[in-house]
Amino acid sequence: MIPAPFSYFAPDTLEEALSLLGEYGESAKILAGGQSLLPLMAFRLVRPEVLVDLGGIEALSRYELAGGRLTIGSMVTHRTIELDHRITSRCDMLREALDVLGHVAIRNVGTVGGSLAHADPAGEWLAVALALDGRIMVTGPRGNRDVAADGFATGWMTSCLSPDEIVTGVRLDMPGPGTGSAFEEVARRHGDFAVVGVAARVSVEGEAVTGARIALAGAASTPIRAHRAEALLTGTTLSGPDLDAACEAAASETDPVADLHGSVEYKRRLARVLTRRAVSRAYRRASAPA
């Protein structure tokens, strides 16, 4: 359980980090908390020759809530967001997702950017970003770019990043008045990876749904949006048949991978059940007087 030998760099600036990535190319890995990378290295499943630790780059550890938009630097820890009441009181989905994201010890060290870039299919942050119209901010030798969360992950633990790029942060739209959100998850134990998790955001006018976002973690090789289910909900008042149809749609949009904690069929079932619960709660919250 000792990693294969590697060199370690801790740059102070993004420019330095980029130049190290440019120099070492695919033999380098970015260390952004290490909650996933270090165990993989200890098992020697991953053998980077070079680690570039972003922990010393101060600019990446800032976050800001302004104008209904939350911008989080990539090296901000889960725990920092979890403990900021201004944020969690504005967004039930985020509060509920952070409550089940690993354990406190993990949340103290793990980072938002690390989680996004890791692109774990069960990752809560990417599901939340999908449901909050998130944009992932990336920098590289060719300059800065913004990537929509929907499309960031391209396959099992892979993203559209090239090896010389760095995630610098994420921008999320906070639910405003008339919008409710929720996060539902089944994990085998508190703090385990989600078997399936569902992030839902629902906007309501009167009793009608004017817009919905549904994102699922653990339901495919990447976190996914349930586009059809979202469309089916829009314009409804969440009556029984409408909700049933949307939940069925969400389940059918999944493509789960079986593992020890759930078969394909079980995960589809969870997708349906948890979509219902998350959407219903988000709708109730949207409808509740502020």
Partner: protein, 775 residues
Amino acid sequence: MKQVGEALPRREDGRLLRGRARYMADLAFDDSLDAIVVRSPFARARILSIDASAALAADGVVAVLTADDLVGVEPALTRQFYSLTPAFIERHQVFLGPYREPVLARDRVSRMGEPVAFLIATDRRAAEDAAELVEVDYEPLDPIVDPLRAIAPGSDLVVSDVPGNIQASFHIIVGDPTSAVEAAERKVSGRFRIGRSVGSPIETRGAVGIPATGSEPLTVWSSTQIPHILRAYLAEFLRCPEEDLRVAAPDMGGSFGGGIYAEELLVAFAARLLGQPVRWLEDRRENLANARHSRDQIIDALLAYDTSGSFRALEMHIVQDCGSANLFGLTLPFNIASHARGQFAIDHFDVTGLCVLTNKTRNTPVRGAGRPEATFVLDRLVDMAATDLGIDPADLRHRNLIPAREMPRDMGMLYRDGAPMVYDSGDFPDQLRTALEAFDYWGKRRRQDEAAGSNLALGIGVSSHVEATGLGPHETARVEIDDSGTVVLTCGSNPHGQSHATTLAQVAGETLGIRYDRIETRFGDTGLLERGGGTFGSRSAVTAGAVVHGASVELRRRILDLASEMLECDPADLIIRDGYVSPRGVPGISVSFAELATGGAPLRAEDEFVPPTVTLGSGTHIASVAVDRETGVVNLTGYVVVDDCGTVLNPMVVDGQQHGGVAHGIGNALLEEAVYDEGGQLLSGTFIDYLLPTAADVPDIEIIHRPHPTPLNTLGVKGAGEGSTASAPGAIANAVVDALRPLRIEINELPITPQRLVELIRAAEAEQVEGLAGN
């Protein structure tokens, strides 16, 4: 001063909580080398060649040992852990085949993880880097993974000298089960599967071998529960007298079971060969793949009863998946048989057990060791019968419990130690009544339905178990007073979390008139005590407790004799208080332990306790659960334990055992499962996939002690280490079935994973729909 029975604070905690414990990895020796085991990646394969040249050339590598290098020692473990008496073998139709487990694999490997080479380097990092360079050429063979296939005619053999892959078997018949089953009005039956689990201590295994010096023999420090037994195995392996060896156990971060492992032998061999200390520390992946696998049975069982609810007969057929070698012989399935009737009066009984070899990790007794399996099956059968009869399970249980007036009760069979199995003490009906009352069982039953939510179903489950504890053959202790007047207690049994330094010192302290926390304690070192038993099978409070008591009584007699000479006073008129002896009513005149000890002859008493046989602990558990019908997630909402471990040495310590036992049982019931695929590859290789219960999974547990001391030892103590593990799976399974009672599902498999439960729910719903359509 009264100490036995008091909830005195654990003496161990200060040291443990301040980080002052010395675990295996904390032991430091000059010039120590680090070893790593190169293991088979295949479940079954021929070894065509091993090439260690690249590894030997790597930085820091000192040696790479393979089977060919094990010169002058026994190449395999062959002695089975327990011996059986001829009378036992005849009475229960025992067959016991050979046991052979190579220390290092030579021509073939029989399981994933089997040690193939032992690589020794200057440090751990060098060892891990070089281990990847050892090239082993394997020719993979089709593994035998399913025990039912292993015993089917024509199966390949795991080892050539165990025909049919049946390493051991037995058949117990009590009364006339055939006629009783035939005559019974009703029957329930099922096939039950108990998942394979892994006893998972916080500290993984480790051992260090230290070469002999002028003054010290070849020494092995190991995180073992059985230093004296390990010494015997080492002597056999190294072909040397036991006196030439010392085995000791340091502080241990848990254990839960064990036995003898190749690595403990290899460090000794390597240290002797290289003339330097050689240390091996297991990592978590090795631990999950190679150590303390347990449970893993398929049990066909039938309970026969009358419409009055009176139990008539129990039949069981046990297939025990032993893995690739069976060090422990009949232990696991015979333990199931011994505990199969639990607290119930069942006069007719028929059990067969088969120990089947497969290409998996060796199975071993782990906390409970057959008791949880037996209790789960019986608990389920009883609740199935209650449903069949339309009686509340608590009522049906009450009707069939062995009444207190029938104690002691001969169970009509022999225990593994060859003695007649006799339930020596206990009041089972009182235990059940106490549990029902504490839980507010009838009140909760009445409110059960109204308290349920739309997705949540609430259920209550009862389990009761017996626990044969305090297995022999013997335990040894010495109690002495050194020159400084300090009382020193030395015992063969060593702790790995059982609080020996507290509870045994309470026993000695009360007898000797000195506070328990002023007694120095030493455990588990063959260099300190020639004989010793160990810590397993809920035996330490019983056997070590009794022998410490015996030695302390003897030492007290000697103290008083000596003091009576010095004080010129009859021993009967002397009292001991806080390490001073004085004539009763004359506190001004006294002689201290220190003065007595410097007086000449050593003040010392050594004793050996040979228990007549095991003594019977018991317990009743009630669990309540909330089941999410849609996701299959089970949450525990309440838990009560009523326990009878005889005389309670320290209620706080026993409570701790109950908490840990219930947690372990919750793991077995809901979470823990070592899963192999069809190729014999372990899929649950890390703690991401092998799920231990965490604090969030364990509810508040109310514990009530209802002790009935045993007549089998002077203290009246019965063991308490395993019972709570025994009842948790049955109580939880019954509660889940109860929650879903409109669906009439049966839970026959552990662990109850959410997916399995959803599948059961869906199947039952489909059946109900079909039933309606049929009408």
